[in-house]
Symmetry: C2
Subunit: 439 residues, 2 copies
C-alpha cells in the first residue's frame, strides 16, 4: 500500500507539550510495551508497518517539521516537504507528484491519504489497505473511509451514503452539525468523515494539472508559494460525482486536546510527579526534571515543559487555544534531525541552551551576525569546525564563536555530544542564522 | 528597644518557594508601595525601624541562614549565629550573651524576643516597645505578650491571666487545646501565646549560668554543640513564678502555610501567570520565567520555582509537609550574601548553575576536589583569582577551573557579574568544597 500521512498542526491545543516546532503528533506520551514512550507519529508508523511491512509511507509536511520527523523516524520514511503552507489541495497534489516522480509509483496505482494522528488500533490500518484495494478497482474516482459513529458528535463532518452496504456510493456530505441534526444523521445511517480517502495517482495529478499551471514535481515545488490556498474538499471532493465510501466500525479517536488525550493515558503520571491526598482523575505530564506535587484536586490536568505550565480543569482544557495564543511564542525546546535542544535560561542579553546531539550527527555549517556563542562540552565528545579549522571537543572544553564566524560540530559516533550553548548579545533571535556549504 | 528575632524554619510548608536554605521568612511575596516585593524578614525589620528608628535588632539564627539574611538586610543587622541547632533556650541564651558582650548592652537593660515572621501591622511593634518598658520596671522576671483571641483556635497555646487588666500576673499556661476546651478558655479571658516576651539581660544570663557550664559568649559559642537541646518554655518559663502578661488586641497572623499566606496576597498572580476561564480563588506564585496558565479552577494555589511545582487545593495545602519530605532535597536555588544562584540543569555528570553576583561582592576562595568547573560570563564583569593568578572576566569569556584549583571571583563594583557555572564530574556535591584564606 502507498500512504500519504498529512502532518500539520499548530501546537496550541496541547501546550505546553507542543509548540510551533513540536506539533502534537511528536509528543512522546504513549507507553510502549518496554515502558518507554512513543509519539503519535511513531505509533502510527509502527502500526502501518505491522499491518503491511511493504507499505510505502510518505509524510506530507512543512519545512519546520522535517527535522522532528527525521528525529523520530530516521531516514526510512519519505518526506514531501511543502515549502510554505498552502492548504490541503496543493499539499496532496505535491505529495502525489512526489510519490510518482521521486518514489517511482506508477500513475495507475492507488494511494491512501490519512492524517498523521488518528488514535486507532491495527484494524484501522487493515481497513486502509482495503480502501486502497477498492480504489484500485476504479469503480469511483475517490474512495472515502466512513467511520461508524458511536454517538451524535458535533465535532465531525458527516458522509451520507446511498445505502448501508460495506461500500456504497456517497449521496452527500454534511458540515459539522448541531446535536439535534447529528441525531437525525445517525438515524439516516450517516458516517463520520475522518478525512481519509484513496485514489489512483493519475486522478489527483490530472485534477492538479487542470487547476494549477505546472510541468512536474520540481516545477510545482518551485512555484509552490505562488499557489492559491485551497482545501482538497473545496477543490476536488465537492466537484466529484463519482465517490464511494467504505464503512469502518473499529475504534477511532482524535486526540487533539488535553481532555481527549488524558483519557487514553495508561497511567496518571508521566514524568516527575506525585499525587498527594484526595486527588481524583488528576493527570500529570511533566517534561521538566523537577517534581510536580498535586494535592486535593479533582478532574485536573497538569502539564509542564520548558515552554510553560498548564493547570486546567479537564473539560476546560479543550478551550486553551485563545489563551495560549496570547502567551510568548519563543520556542523553548525542539527535536531536530541531529538531536534536541532546550532553552534553560533567557536573560536580557544572553540565552543558555542545552544541546543533546545524537552519535555521529552534525549541525549545519552556519554563522550568526549579531551574537556570539560559547559552546561548553558537558559530556560525550565531538569535532567542531570554526571558520574552516577543526577543533576537538571534550568535557570541560569551551569554544568561543565570534559574531560572523562559520561553525558546526559533529558528535562522536559512539558517545554523542552534550553541550551548553551560551548565546550572548542584545538581539538574540532564531532569524540570526546564515547557512553555508562546507568548505 | 533591643530585640532578638528568632529566625528558624525548615522550609517544607511553603515548598517549592522555600527549601533547606530559603526558609519562609526569606520569600519575597509581599508587595511594597513601589510595586516590588519584600520578604517577611524585610517587612518585619522595616516595621521595627519605622516604630523605633534606634531599635537594636539582633537575629538569632543558624549558620545556613546567615547568607540569606545578609542578602536581604545587608550588614546593618546583628546576627547571633548558632553553630548547630540546639532549641530555643541555648539560642536565646547565646543571643543574650551576644547582645551584652558583642553589642555592649548593659545587663539591666531589657530585650524583647520575637519570632521573625509575624504578619502584623505597626501597632504590634509599638506594643513590643511597651513590653520592653514593662520589663524595665522589674515587676516580674518575664513579661509575655498575650494576643486577644479572635476565635477559639486549636493551633495556639493559651495564657490564663489573673485578671483582665492591660498588664496582669499570669495564672497558668495551657497547651494547644481542642475546640471545645478553646471555647472555655476564651470565656475565662485567656490569651494566645505568640512566643513573644521581654526580660532584663541579667535574668536570662543568670538562668543560663545556672543551667549550663560556660564562662562567656565565646565559651558558650565554642561549646554550643555539646549543649542539651531544650526549649525556653521548658527550661525557664515553666519554673518561673514571676511572669506578667501584657494584652495585645491588634491583628496578628502566622503565615506559615500556603492557605494562610494566599489570604494575605494583595493580588492573585505573582510572576508570569494567566488566569483563564472560570478561575475563582486561584493564586499563582511563579518564580520561573515561563508562564503558568490556569483554566477552570476553584480554590487552588499554584506555585513554581526551580525546586518544583505545587498545585494544591487551598485547604489541602496546609498538609503538604509529609509529601515534600519525600521529594528530592537538592537545593535548586539560594540567596547568598554575595548574590544568588539557581540550578538550571542537572545531568548524570554535569550541573549548570546561574550565578548572579551583586556589584562589588565576592565569593569565598575555595576549591573542589572531585569536579572541575567552567565559568562563563553572561553579563557584567569581574576579576577572578585562580591559584593566586588574577584574571579579568568579561561577557563571552570562559574560565576553566581544574579539580583542586583554588578560585574566587569578585563582581565589578558598578556592573555586578552574571555567570553560568558548569560543574563537571561524576560525583557533584555541595559537600565537595574547601575554603581557603586569600593568598
Amino acid at each position: 500500500m502507498n500512504i500519504i500521512l498529512l502532518s500539520g498542526g499548530s501546537g496550541k491545543r496541547l501546550w505546553p507539550l507542543s509548540n510551533d516546532i513540536r506539533s502534537k503528533q511528536f509528543i512522546k506520551i504513549f507507553k510502549r510495551a518496554d515502558g518507554s514512550y512513543e509519539s503519535m507519529i511513531e505509533r502510527v508508523y509502527r502500526q502501518i508497518k505491522s499491518v503491511d511491512a511493504d507499505a510505502k509511507v510518505t509524510i506530507a509536511t512543512s519545512r519546520t517539521q522535517v527535522s522532528s520527523i527525521l528525529h523520530l523516524l530516521g531516514n526510512e520514511v519519505n518526506i514531501s516537504v511543502e515549502p510554505t503552507r498552502r492548504d490541503t489541495f496543493p499539499a496532496i497534489a505535491l505529495a502525489t507528484a512526489y510519490l510518482h516522480e521521486k518514489c517511482g509509483v506508477p500513475v495507475d496505482e492507488s494511494v491512501v491519504v490519512c492524517p498523521v494522528d488518528p488514535y486507532v488500533d491495527d484494524s484501522y490500518f487493515a481497513a486502509l489497505k482495503d480502501l486502497s484495494a477498492q480504489a484500485d478497482k476504479g469503480n469511483a474516482n475517490l474512495v472515502l473511509m466512513g467511520i461508524e459513529p458511536t454517538f451524535p458528535s458535533e465535532k465531525y463532518g458527516y458522509i451520507i451514503p446511498e445505502n448501508s452496504d460495506p461500500v456504497a456510493k456517497v449521496r452527500t456530505f454534511k458540515e459539522k452539525p448541531d446535536m439535534e441534526t447529528a441525531r437525525g444523521y445517525l438515524k439516516e445511517g450517516a458516517l463520520w468523515n475522518g478525512g481519509v480517502f484513496a485514489y489512483k495517482l493519475s486522478y489527483v495529478l490530472n485534477r492538479a494539472h487542470e487547476l494549477m499551471d505546472f510541468k512536474d514535481y520540481e516545477d510545482l515545488f518551485h512555484k509552490y508559494d505562488t499557489l492559491k490556498k485551497i482545501s482538497f474538499d473545496y477543490a476536488v471532493v465537492e466537484h466529484e460525482p463519482e465517490i464511494e465510501v467504505m464503512r469502518f466500525h473499529g475504534e477511532w479517536k482524535d486526540l487533539g486536546t488535553w481532555n481527549t488525550l488524558t483519557e487514553e493515558m495508561s497511567e496518571p503520571v508521566i514524568g516527575a510527579g506525585v499525587l498527594g491526598e484526595n486527588c481524583e482523575k488528576v493527570h500529570i505530564v511533566n517534561e521538566l526534571s523537577v517534581p510536580v506535587l498535586a494535592m486535593g484536586l479533582q478532574d485536573v490536568v497538569i502539564s509542564a515543559s520548558p515552554q510553560g505550565i498548564l493547570v486546567s480543569n479537564t473539560d476546560a482544557s479543550a478551550r486553551i487555544k485563545p489563551y495560549v495564543d496570547k502567551l510568548p511564542d519563543r520556542i523553548m525546546f525542539a527535536e531536530k534531525s541531529w538531536g534536541e535542544y532546550r532553552v534553560l535560561d533567557v536573560d536580557t542579553s544572553s540565552m543558555a541552551v542545552k544541546i543533546v546531539m545524537k552519535p555521529g550527527h552534525h549541525m549545519s555549517y552556519h554563522a550568526h551576525h549579531v551574537r556570539e556563542e560559547v559552546w561548553n562540552v558537558l559530556s560525550g565528545s565531538g569535532t567542531a569546525i570554526l571558520d574552516g579549522k577543526k577543533i576537538e571537543l571534550h568535557p570541560g572544553d569551551s569554544l568561543r564563536i565570534p559574531c560572523g564566524a562559520k561553525h558546526t560540530v559533529s558528535a562522536d559516533p559512539a558517545d554523542g555530544l552534550v553541550m551548553l550553548e551560551l548565546q550572548i548579545g542584545k538581539e538574540i533571535s532564531v532569524e540570526d542564522k546564515t547557512k553555508y556549504p562546507m568548505e
